[in-house]
C-alpha cells in the first residue's frame, strides 16, 4: 500500500498510470489513513465489551470532533444515536458502531441524486486559495477526455502568478483546447470568449478555472458573481455546474466558505481534495447536513486516477470497514 502512496515524479507517469485497481479498492486505499485513524479509535472504544453509557457517547463525540465534523453536527449525530440506542435497547457497544455508520450514511444520502454531465455543460471551479482548483481541473479534464468528450479549458484565473501557465500545462497533458488571455485581464471576458469558442467548436464540456479568493473579500466575490452572470447569460442553453473545491484539511471554516460561495454562484457540488493525508474530511458530513450540498468528487492521491466520483455508500463503507 505504501507503494501506492509514493509520489509519482514524472508528469507522464501520472497520465500513464494504469488503472490497475478497481475504483472501490483505490478509494478504500486512499481512505485507509482516514479509516485507520477514525475507526481504529472507535474500535478501541467499542471493543472491550463495554457498556453503553454516557461516557461511551462522550468519547464518540470526541472522535467526531477530532475528525472535523464540527460541534453542532456532532451533537446532532450523537443525539440521534442515543435515541436509536434507547429505542432499540442496545446493550452491546459493537452495535453502536453500526448505528453510527448508519447515521452518517443517512446524512450523506439524504435527497441525493447522482451527477449527470450532459453536453454541453459548463463547469465553474471556485474556491479559496490553495485548495487545488487548477489541479482538479487537470484531473476532471482527463476524466472527460477519457469518456470521449471534447473539453475546453478556460483560464479565468488571471490573478495569481503563473496560474495560466499551470493550466496550460494541464491542457497540454490532456491534449485539450484552452482559451487564455493576458495575466491581469478581466476573468469574465475570458469566460465570455471561452463560451463563444466552445459554441463554434462544438465543445462538450467547458472547464473554467477561477482565481482563489477568500470568501470574505467582498470585491473578489463580486468579481466572481460577474463571472457567474456571464456564464448564465451566454450559456443559457447549456447546463451550468459550479463546483466548490475544498481542502480536506480545512476545519469549521469550510462551512462558511460553502455558504458564501453558494450565495454568489449557486454551488451545485463539492470537490474534496487532499483526502490522502491524515485529515479526516469529516467536514463533508457537516456541509451536507447543514447546507445540503452534495459531494461530487474526491481526490485521494496525486495520480490522475486517484480522483473519483464521490459515492456516499462506498465512502461510509470504506470509513467503517
Amino acid at each position: 500500500m505504501l507503494n501506492f502512496f509514493k509520489k509519482i515524479k514524472k508528469d507522464n507517469e501520472i497520465i500513464e498510470k494504469e488503472d490497475k485497481k478497481g475504483l472501490y479498492q483505490r478509494l478504500k486505499d486512499g481512505l485507509a489513513r482516514t479509516r485507520d485513524n477514525f475507526t481504529a479509535k472507535i474500535d478501541d472504544i467499542l471493543s472491550l465489551g463495554r457498556k453503553v453509557d454516557d461516557e461511551l457517547f462522550e468519547e464518540l463525540e470526541e472522535i467526531l470532533i477530532l475528525a472535523d465534523v464540527g460541534v453542532s453536527t456532532t451533537e446532532k449525530i450523537i443525539d440521534n444515536l442515543k435515541e436509536k440506542a434507547k429505542e432499540q435497547k442496545v446493550k452491546d457497544a459493537e452495535k453502536i458502531k453500526e448505528l453510527l455508520a448508519e447515521e452518517i450514511y443517512d446524512i450523506m444520502e439524504a435527497k441525493e441524486t447522482s451527477l449527470k454531465i450532459t453536453p454541453p455543460t459548463l463547469i465553474l471551479i471556485v474556491g479559496v486559495n490553495g485548495v487545488g482548483k487548477t489541479t482538479t481541473i487537470g484531473k476532471l479534464a482527463n476524466k472527460f477526455k477519457r469518456e470521449g468528450k471534447r473539453v475546453l479549458l478556460v483560464a479565468a484565473d488571471t490573478f495569481r502568478a503563473a496560474a495560466i501557465d499551470q493550466l496550460d500545462v494541464w491542457a497540454g497533458r490532456n491534449n485539450c483546447e484552452i482559451i487564455r488571455h493576458e495575466e491581469g485581464s478581466d476573468p469574465a471576458s475570458v469566460l465570455f470568449d471561452g463560451i463563444k469558442a466552445a459554441k463554434s467548436r462544438n465543445v462538450d464540456v467547458i472547464l473554467c478555472d477561477t482565481a482563489g479568493r477568500l470568501h470574505n473579500k467582498k470585491n473578489l466575490m463580486e468579481e466572481l458573481k460577474k463571472i457567474y452572470r456571464v456564464a448564465q447569460r451566454e450559456f443559457n442553453e447549456g447546463n451550468i455546474e459550479t463546483f466548490l473545491v475544498l481542502d480536506a484539511t480545512t476545519g469549521q471554516n469550510a462551512i462558511q466558505q460553502a455558504k458564501i460561495f453558494k450565495e454568489a454562484t449557486d454551488v451545485t457540488g463539492i470537490i474534496l481534495t487532499k483526502l490522502d493525508g491524515t485529515a479526516k474530511g469529516g467536514i463533508v458530513i457537516s456541509i451536507k447536513s447543514e447546507l445540503d450540498i452534495p459531494v461530487r468528487f474526491i481526490g485521494v492521491g496525486e495520480g490522475i486516477d486517484d480522483f473519483q466520483e464521490f459515492d456516499s455508500e462506498k465512502f461510509v463503507k470504506a470509513l467503517f470497514e
Binding site: 509520489k7 470526541e62 479559496v128 503563473a162 469549521q252 469550510a254 485529515a279
Partner: protein
C-alpha cells in the same frame, strides 16, 4: 479578520459571567463548557482544548478566586494568561547566520501558500536591508518555477532556478554558492508542497536540510486548517526539527484555532503571520498581542506601529490635536483615507481596536471601491463644507451627489459615518493617551 467570531463568543460568555456577583462551582463549569465549544468551533485542537479547559477550571476554582470580591474578573484574567501562555509569550525573531548567507527553508502542505509567502518574506527582509535571493525547488507542480519568477520580478528579488530536471537537493546546494558568489546574504528556499505522510518526499526535505544546513526551517500553515493541523505540524517537526511557523491566510474569517494548536503541540513559535493579497501583507507575530486580540482587548500596539509606518510624527501630532479638539474635518478625513489605504485592509485595522466586536460590525464592510466613492463625494464638497459639514443641507447634498455620481442616500450615509468616525477616533486617541501614562484601560475589564 481572523478570530473575530471567537472573540465575540468569548466576550458574550464573559459578559454573562460578569453579570454574576458570586460564582459557584457550577457557574464556572458552565462557562468553561461554553468556552470549550467556542474554542472547538474555532478549530483549536481537541486535546489542546481539553488541557486548556482543565487548567483554567482548576485555577478558577481555587480558593483565592472564589473568595475574591470580583471572581468573574479573576476567571477572565486566568483565561487571558493561559491563552497567552498557549501561544508563547514573546515574539521570536529569525536566526541570522554569523556567516552569510542565512539559509531559510520553507516547507509545508500543498496549497498552504509557500511560494507567495516566500515572496512576502523576501520583500520583508529586503525592507529590513537584507539582500535575499529566492530559490525555486518546487520541480513538481506545473508552472511553480514560473510562479516564483513572477513573484520575484514583482518585488525585485532575483530567483535562482535550474529548471525542473535537476533534483531539489542539488538546486538547493548550488544556490548557496550562487548566493556567496553574488553577495546575497539571505537564501529563501521554496520547496514543493507535500503531504506529511508522504515518506519519500519527506525524505527529500531531510536531504535538502542535510545538504544546506538551513538556519531557519519555517513551516507554512494555512490558518483555516482544522483538527489535522496537529498531525501535520508534529510530522514536519519530527522529521525536520523546524524552527518556527508562518501562519497564512489570516485575512479569511477563520477563527484561527490552528495558531493556538500548533504552538501547543510543537513548542515551536509562530514567527510571522501573512494576510492579504499584497506582498507587504506579512508581519511579525506577537503572541501576547494576539491573545489580547482574541479576547477582544484589541491590539493597540500593532495599530500604532502600522500607523507609524505610514504617518509622519508631526502630522500625527497635529491630527491628534484636531481630534481632541473635535476639529477633525473632511479634509483631514480624506488625508487619513489615503494613509489608511496604505496601512492595509480596513477591517483588519478595526479588529485591532479594543472593544470592537467585529461580528457586530458587519455593516462597516469597507472595500477599496467604497473608499474611492467616499473620495469622490468629499471631493465634490466645497472647502467650507469640508471644514464644517453641519451646513450641508438638502440642496447641497443634491449638488454633492450629482457632482460625485452618487446618490443622496450615499452622501447621507457618508455624513453619518463621518460623525461616527470622529467619535471613534476621539475614543481611540483618549485611550492612546491613557496608555502612555501607564493607565491602559481595558474595555474588557470595565
Amino acid at each position: 479578520m481572523a478570530f473575530e467570531s471567537l472573540t465575540g463568543k468569548l466576550q458574550d460568555i464573559f459578559k454573562k459571567l460578569r453579570g454574576k456577583g458570586k460564582l459557584s462551582e457550577k457557574d464556572v463549569k458552565e462557562a468553561m463548557k461554553e468556552v470549550k465549544i467556542a474554542l472547538l468551533e474555532a478549530d483549536v485542537n481537541f486535546k489542546v482544548v481539553k488541557e486548556f479547559i482543565n487548567n483554567v477550571t482548576e485555577k478558577s476554582l481555587g480558593q483565592e478566586v472564589m473568595e475574591s470580591l470580583t471572581p468573574a474578573q479573576h476567571v477572565i484574567k486566568i483565561v487571558n494568561d493561559e491563552l497567552t501562555a498557549l501561544m508563547g509569550s514573546k515574539e521570536s525573531k529569525i536566526n541570522f547566520s554569523d556567516k552569510p548567507p542565512t539559509v531559510i527553508m520553507m516547507v509545508g502542505l500543498q496549497g498552504s501558500g509557500k511560494t507567495t509567502t516566500s515572496g512576502k518574506l523576501a520583500n520583508y527582509l529586503k525592507s529590513k536591508g537584507k539582500s535575499p535571493v529566492l530559490v525555486a525547488c518546487d520541480i513538481y507542480r506545473p508552472a511553480a518555477i514560473k510562479q516564483l519568477q513572477v513573484v520575484g520580478s514583482s518585488i525585485n528579488v532575483p530567483v535562482f532556478s535550474m529548471g525542473d530536471k535537476t533534483s531539489p537537493v542539488d538546486i538547493a546546494k548550488t544556490s548557496i554558492d550562487f548566493a556567496k558568489n553574488n553577495n546575497y546574504n539571505v537564501v529563501i528556499i521554496d520547496t514543493a508542497g507535500r503531504l506529511h505522510v508522504d515518506e519519500e518526499l519527506m525524505d527529500e526535505l531531510k536531504n535538502i536540510k542535510d545538504a544546506v544546513n538551513p538556519d531557519e526551517i519555517l513551516l507554512v500553515v494555512d490558518a483555516m486548517t482544522g483538527q489535522d493541523v496537529v498531525n501535520v505540524a508534529e510530522s514536519f517537526n519530527e522529521k525536520l526539527d523546524i524552527d518556527g511557523v508562518i501562519l497564512t491566510k489570516l485575512d479569511g474569517d477563520t477563527r484561527g484555532g490552528a495558531a493556538l494548536s500548533v504552538k501547543a503541540v510543537t513548542h515551536k513559535p509562530i514567527k510571522f503571520i501573512a494576510s492579504g493579497e499584497k506582498f507587504t501583507d506579512i508581519e511579525v507575530f506577537h503572541p501576547d498581542r494576539m491573545a489580547s486580540r482574541i479576547l477582544g482587548m484589541g491590539d493597540v500596539l500593532s495599530l500604532i506601529e502600522k500607523a507609524q509606518a505610514q504617518i509622519d510624527e508631526k502630522k500625527a501630532l497635529e491630527l491628534q490635536k484636531k481630534i481632541l479638539e473635535q476639529q477633525f474635518s473632511f479634509d483631514d478625513f480624506l488625508e487619513q483615507l489615503q494613509g489608511l489605504k496604505n496601512m492595509g485592509p480596513i477591517d483588519q485595522l478595526f479588529s485591532m481596536i479594543p472593544g470592537v466586536n467585529m461580528s457586530k460590525l458587519k455593516g462597516i464592510n469597507v472595500s477599496d471601491k467604497d473608499i474611492k466613492r467616499i473620495e469622490a463625494i468629499i471631493q465634490s464638497m466645497t472647502k467650507e463644507e469640508r471644514q464644517n459639514p453641519s451646513i450641508i443641507n438638502g440642496s447641497r447634498k443634491k449638488r454633492i451627489a450629482a457632482g460625485s455620481g452618487t446618490s443622496i442616500q450615499q452622501v447621507n450615509s457618508l455624513l453619518k459615518q463621518f460623525e461616527q468616525t470622529k467619535k471613534m477616533m476621539k475614543q481611540f486617541t483618549d485611550m492612546g493617551k491613557n496608555m502612555k501614562i501607564g493607565k491602559r484601560k481595558m474595555p474588557f475589564f470595565k
